[in-house]
């Protein structure tokens, strides 16, 4: 018994080391550049693929293997530098979420590039020469390579510590972490500094990937699998803190190792559950510090002007088209139109907390999905009619908003975004793993509208009325005292509190509103598709919502509507026309981030302003 526990603990340590390698690079890059690099997982995957290619091509033996691993890590470092120079360098001043999205665009591009080069099949690498065997520990055999990995983590931590505290480069990097502009004014070329930091972080990611070669097969899912975990480690440890990341990796490695013994089903949720708990107790992670707000770039958000006559006419015209044209359309077009109406509401609900509220949500799909499940579960288990289901959808989403929101609105910035992501992942894995109730991966089928709403045209009008109605309600709230109070808390929490506002309650209520609205959208979506799957709550759907809002423009009131229209249309076209749609979508995202940082509506506003 004890021997088994020991072996389990050692395995946990080995996993912790691997995780730490990736997380350390992520946290170092964040510390200096303030960029949350979604593409870090892609660098890890590249490390694994490249080392596979090199190790299998080079002669067998120590030099071939270890040389291949190191060269792969260095090549990944160069790829990282390319990403930094071509993309990130141009968006250092952009809002956090834009940077996150830009790097997500890179993730999509790398996925298709890797698919083109290495193909869809899993690749198996050789084992490490000299570390092939196992040792006996208390009578149980334990792989040597795992022991080697256990040692790698602390060694890398030690080397990094020396680098950051005993070299002038390291001191400068730590100074730049606090105030990059000042470091520049003291004569340091911060561009070079950022690029070298990015190189270091990328090499660590590549090394982490390459060292996985003897442990597991190389595949195309490695990137998102590791990035989710690495985010969790970095956030639990405290963004930018290396010892924090190490501690968090150890904690997570052990929890995973023993969690699997006690309650195998919980493994997917466990990491996110731990993160949620840590963030509630320590809002900046275990060893993180509150960001030095003294010199954070102070962004002044633009005012919200009431709709101009032109915007109003355009709005009425769009609505008139949406009402008058569909009777003359075919079934497929009706389905697309219904989906667009639903997406408009979904985007508007996210915008409500992001724009006026200034809260970043990376897990808004949770409320959309829970709305859908609320309706579908009633239909499946109680054979409830659509009318009841559409009522249950916002109720279920709203309830989740009450609970999750209570935690999320206490945090700010990246931490809040990560906590929303954590809750969305918890909701997703519950739907995925609680097969008896939710049907797991197979979803719930046969969620059909009531007889009167069965015709596609009738259902379209139903969706249109509900979606436009709720969207307008959200818009009305933005211009009412509540929306102003929400903006007040975003503009100056200090002042808001000093004139008697309870910022927490205001943000919480806004979060619940947004969840309810997303739930309405989700419920309508369920009946439109006739089925519900866990993917409704997965990361890509949350990213969809973010893209729609950012495409339209966060700090404009009409942005989410335009964004939803444009995005749903682009997405539809891409999916239909290209096999490599990820490559295209990724490029579109990168282009958007580079050229339209204010979104479409924001860009249009600038144009009309310039004409004046």
């Amino acid at each position: 018994m004890f021997e088994n526990l020991l072996v389990q603990g050692l395995s946990g340590l080995a996993s912790a080391s691997s995780l730490f390698l990736v997380a350390s690079g992520l946290t170092v890059i964040f510390g200096v550049t303030r960029i949350v690099n979604f593409a870090h997982g892609s660098l890890y995957m590249m490390g694994a693929y490249l080392s596979w290619t090199l190790v299998t091509a080079l002669p067998r033996g120590h030099l071939g293997f270890w040389g291949g691993v190191l060269v792969a890590a260095l090549i990944v470092g160069v790829i990282g530098v390319l990403i930094e120079v071509l993309l990130l360098r141009r968006i250092y001043k952009a809002p956090e979420l834009f940077q996150l999205l830009g790097t997500f665009g890179v993730v999509l591009i790398v996925q298709d590039v890797a698919l083109m080069i290495w193909g869809p099949q899993d690749l198996l690498g050789p084992r490490a020469p000299g570390l092939r065997g196992a040792v006996e520990i208390l009578g149980v055999r334990f792989p040597l390579y795992e022991l080697f990995l256990i040692a790698v983590g602390p060694v890398v931590l030690g080397l990094l510590w020396l680098l950051f505290h005993r070299t002038r480069w390291g001191t400068t990097v730590r100074a730049a972490t606090a105030d990059r502009e000042m470091v520049g004014a003291l004569g340091v070329n911060q561009r070079m500094l950022f690029t070298t930091v990015f190189f270091l972080g990328s090499v660590l990611a590549g090394l982490g990937g390459a060292l996985q070669l003897p442990r597991e097969s190389v595949n195309l899912q490695m990137d998102l699998a590791i990035i989710a975990e690495a985010f969790v480690v970095v956030v639990i440890g405290g963004l930018g803190s290396l010892p924090g990341a190490f501690l968090a990796a150890l904690l997570l490695g052990q929890l995973q190792a023993f969690g699997i013994l006690i309650f195998p089903k919980i493994t997917l949720v466990l990491a996110f559950l731990v993160m949620a708990v840590v963030l509630v107790v320590r809002p900046h992670g275990l060893l993180g510090r509150p960001p030095a707000s003294a010199h954070a770039a102070h962004v002044v958000e633009p005012p919200y002007p009431p709709a101009t006559p032109l915007v109003r006419y355009l709005g009425f015209a769009a609505l008139a088209l949406a009402v008058l044209v569909p009777p003359f359309m075919g079934e497929f077009a009706l389905i697309v139109f219904t989906e667009i109406a639903i997406m408009v509401l979904f985007a508007a609900s996210l915008h409500f907390i992001m724009g006026p509220g200034g809260m970043a949500s990376f897990g808004h799909a949770a409320y959309f999905g829970l709305g859908a499940y609320g309706a579908a579960l009633l239909a499946k288990h109680f054979a409830a009619p659509m009318e009841l289901g559409l009522f249950a959808a916002p109720l279920m989403a709203g309830f989740a908003g009450v609970v999750f929101g209570w935690f999320c609105v206490r945090l700010s910035g990246v931490y809040a975004a990560m906590l929303t992501l954590a809750f969305a992942q918890i909701a997703w894995s519950t739907a995925f793993q609680w097969v008896e109730v939710t049907g797991g991966d197979n979803g719930i089928l046969g969620v059909w509208p009531s007889a009167w709403a069965q015709p596609k045209l009738v259902y379209y009008y139903l969706a249109l009325v509900l979606c436009v109605g709720v969207t307008l309600l959200l818009r009305r709230a933005i211009f009412a005292p509540f929306g102003y109070a929400l903006r007040a808390g975003r503009d100056s929490p200090l002042r808001a509190e000093a004139i008697g506002m309870d910022g927490f309650r205001i943000r919480w209520v806004a979060f619940i509103f947004a969840a309810i609205a997303a739930g309405v959208a989700g419920g309508l979506f369920a009946y439109a598709k006739g089925s519900v799957f866990p993917t409704y709550m997965a990361i890509p759907r949350s990213v969809d919502a973010l893209l729609m809002v950012l495409l339209g423009g966060v700090q404009t009131v009409s942005g989410p509507i335009v964004g939803a229209l444009a995005y749903t249309w682009i997405h539809e076209q891409l999916m239909r026309s290209f096999d490599l749609w990820r490559l295209f979508l990724g490029s579109v995202i990168v282009a958007l981030v580079l050229f339209f940082p204010q979104g479409l509506v924001g860009a249009a506003q600038r144009l009309t302003e310039r004409r004046k």
Partner: protein
């Protein structure tokens, strides 16, 4: 040594500097006076390249630096001490100084930590203390020391007396006079006329992004009309 000519700068759509022209000779302390919002800090940041000037020239020792990056301007020999001090709070006094270190010019006597501590003795007693755990006055000394470590020949001092107790301001004045004796050129932005008078040779009065008056401090103190129009009234 420093010649700024016809400098324009914008913040968004606001036209902050509207053709600033001023000069500082080797070893001179020039005070840049004016109300809040007159453009003093923007002038300094534009010289330093932290705000990109939209028009105009910044000549330093004969080279035009307008439009260059801040790090290039710092390497050319201009040091910048920001109004908000901007100490690296997580770094110790010694590390803060280390970040500022740049090689001296041939023949120049290099600044060292010890020389900084001789100028500001209270810093020498807290070498290992993190910047975040220092008082406002100590931070002000550290930010000046950090800039000096770069061996500049001209320093831009943005409101060094702001928010400090009168006794500390007096020590600051002594330090500036000591630097002047060493031959350093100083461009000082200031709201405290009494302080400016203690240390400066000449004053330039800035209003709405342009220099409106120039002369010695004695002349300024005697000219009630100018004081009323640009500084006091």
């Amino acid at each position: 040594m420093l010649e700024v000519e016809g400098l324009h700068a914008h913040y968004g759509r606001a036209h902050i500097l509207q053709g600033v022209t001023l000069a500082a000779r080797q070893g001179e302390v020039v005070a840049l006076l004016g109300r809040n919002g007159a453009g003093k800090s923007t002038t300094m940041k534009s010289i330093m390249g932290m705000v990109r000037p939209s028009q105009g020239q910044v000549r330093f020792e004969g080279r035009d630096l307008a439009g260059r990056e801040p790090f290039e301007i710092a390497r050319a020999g201009i040091g910048y001490v920001p109004e908000e001090r901007r100490i690296f709070t997580e770094l110790t006094v010694m590390e803060n100084l280390d970040v500022g270190r740049r090689p001296p010019r041939p023949g120049q006597q290099a600044w060292t930590e010890e020389r900084v501590f001789a100028l500001f003795p209270s810093l020498g007693a807290m070498r290992a203390r993190p910047g975040g755990r220092m008082s406002g006055g100590e931070q002000q000394m550290l930010t000046i020391g950090r800039t000096l470590m770069g061996n500049p020949r001209l320093i831009l001092l943005d409101e060094p007396s702001e928010g400090l107790a009168p006794v500390i301001i007096e020590r600051m004045a002594d330090a500036i006079l000591a630097l002047k004796r060493d031959g350093l050129t100083v461009l000082l932005s200031e709201q405290n006329l009494h302080f400016a008078r203690l240390v400066s040779d000449r004053a330039c009065v800035l209003e709405k992004g342009q220099i409106r008056w120039e002369g010695t401090l004695e002349a300024l103190m005697a000219d009630e009309a100018v004081k009323q129009q640009y500084l006091v009234a």
